[in-house]
């Protein structure tokens, strides 16, 4: 939330600086909204998600392994994949698009705050141009697809690292680090691939 607000505010500032040179500061709303919905919303939200929820999942499952809770569950004839891993997987996949949407929405208000209230871009053109330029299928749906993909990838990496962690303090901390590093790289790389497929400059 806070991160989304600040990213939106920065977009508002930087966007205004650039756009005013060409006299098109009324397009600020479009720039902020497209930037957030297509790119920054899913990507930054996923990066935050990886370092916050992903690392927590890895550490939690790694510690369950280290304290024999997973072995205990197996000995009780309960499948730990079904009982521990699956619910966390769905939680991650479902919550990621919601977080990205929230991030984008708050970011747009951040841009509005800086652009319209502070700098004084026209209120009406900010919203009207945004409404006209942002397409539901082209922009919003693609952003949602991105966030679903990122959510799946981050959650799978986090769960695998946790389940696979050596059952020691060192092993769990190493696995947590790997979760954040691997999933951040995966997010950035996949973002390029998905963007290349989705938006071909038309």
């Amino acid at each position: 939330m806070v991160a989304g607000l600040f990213v939106g505010m920065v977009l508002g500032l930087q966007g205004y600086e650039t756009l005013q040179r060409y006299g098109s500061e009324s397009a600020l709303g479009v720039m902020v909204a497209l930037g957030l919905v297509r790119e920054l919303g899913p990507v930054v939200a996923a990066l935050l998600f990886a370092s916050r929820a992903g690392s927590a999942m890895t550490a939690e499952i790694g510690l369950m392994r280290a304290t024999e809770q997973i072995s205990a569950m197996e000995m009780m004839a309960v499948n730990p994949i079904a009982r521990i891993v699956a619910p966390r997987f769905w939680a991650g996949v479902i919550s990621m698009p919601l977080l990205a949407a929230l991030f984008s929405a708050v970011g747009v208000f951040g841009g509005y705050f800086v652009g319209v209230i502070q700098i004084g871009v026209d209120d009406g053109s900010f919203w009207a141009q945004m409404q006209a330029a942002v397409d539901f299928r082209e922009d919003i749906l693609n952003g949602v697809i991105k966030s679903v993909v990122f959510g799946t990838v981050v959650t799978v990496i986090a769960l695998f690292e946790g389940y696979d962690a050596p059952p020691t303090a060192e092993g769990v901390s190493g696995a947590t680090t790997r979760t954040v590093v691997t999933s951040s790289l995966a997010i950035l790389m996949l973002d390029f691939v998905l963007t290349a497929i989705m938006f071909r400059g038309n």
């Binding site: 304290t67 809770q69 072995s71 000995m75 009780m76 309960v78």
Partner: protein, 267 residues
């Protein structure tokens, strides 16, 4: 095999990669008995337990529980078998995200369709049996080590198993908790009519409660007998272990090169 043996282990061999851990183990666990497996740390005791629970596959030989060979069961058969087993892990392994009550109720919820009132009564009865009925609303992190072990014990007997396994139940307990846990293991075994296997290196405590002892060293059985026979044993290794002597067949010094050479002394 005779029907009075719940667990039979025949010629069990197991190796991690190329390093042998268990070699030619033969053991018999008659129904209703409380049996200890003793030995030094790292002699393969826990590995043996994991074979009985079906977590590891032997390289040769077999473990038979209730007439069925464990490593030949499929996933479903193994899970069905494990419902009849209870296991107490070394440090309890309570689920840290659930209360004491939910920990004990866990298996009842997973494996039975009992209504909530009956689960409530059963959980309180199990907790009462270990003397911790009024801790049911606490979280595992609020319990002392000895109490956590007793809650884990209540959880392990939640479904009245026919076979109980204890992995170092006495490790890290104070003298009072030690006696309490030892006494509970014996009483629960007799009350449930179960068969219990205790893996431990606590000689004094376990000798008081068990019916029979297997002694392991370096993956083989070196001695077996009733506690009295073990105490009277004249074998060097057993004597050193039972009486906790510092030097003997198990040397104080880890084997290595010549001491004088390591200190760079000229001889």
């Amino acid at each position: 095999m005779s029907l009075s043996n719940l667990v039979e282990i025949r010629d069990l061999n197991f190796a991690y990669d190329k390093r042998p851990v268990l070699e030619g183990i033969n053991m018999t666990f008659p129904k209703g008995k409380l049996i200890a497996i003793m030995g030094l740390s790292g002699c393969g005791k826990t590995t043996l337990l994991r074979h009985i629970g079906g977590a590891l596959k032997p390289t040769r030989g077999y473990v038979k529980v209730d007439g069925q060979i464990i490593h030949e069961l499929d996933q479903e058969g193994l899970y069905r078998m494990r419902r009849k087993m209870g296991m107490l892990f070394q440090f309890g392994a309570l689920f840290t995200d659930m209360s004491v009550y939910e920990n004990v109720a866990f298996q009842m919820r997973e494996h039975t369709n009992l209504p909530e009132e009956i689960i409530h009564d059963l959980v309180l009865m199990k907790l009462h049996a270990v003397g911790l009925r009024s801790t049911h609303s606490l979280m595992p992190s609020e319990l002392s080590g000895g109490m956590a072990r007793r809650v884990a014990l209540a959880r392990a007997v939640a479904l009245d198993p026919m076979l109980m396994m204890y992995d170092e139940p006495f490790a890290g307990l104070d003298p009072i908790s030690l006696t309490v846990v030892g006494d509970l293991i014996r009483r629960l075994n007799d009350a449930l009519g179960a068969t219990s296997i205790v893996v431990t290196h606590d000689v004094q405590e376990s000798m008081k409660i068990v019916d029979y002892v297997y002694f392991m060293a370096n993956g083989v059985i070196v001695a077996e007998g009733t506690p009295d026979q073990i105490r009277a044993s004249d074998r060097d290794f057993v004597h050193q272990f039972v009486h906790g002597e510092m030097d003997g067949p198990v040397p104080f010094h880890y084997p290595g090169g010549d001491y004088r050479q390591d200190l760079n002394l000229r001889t």
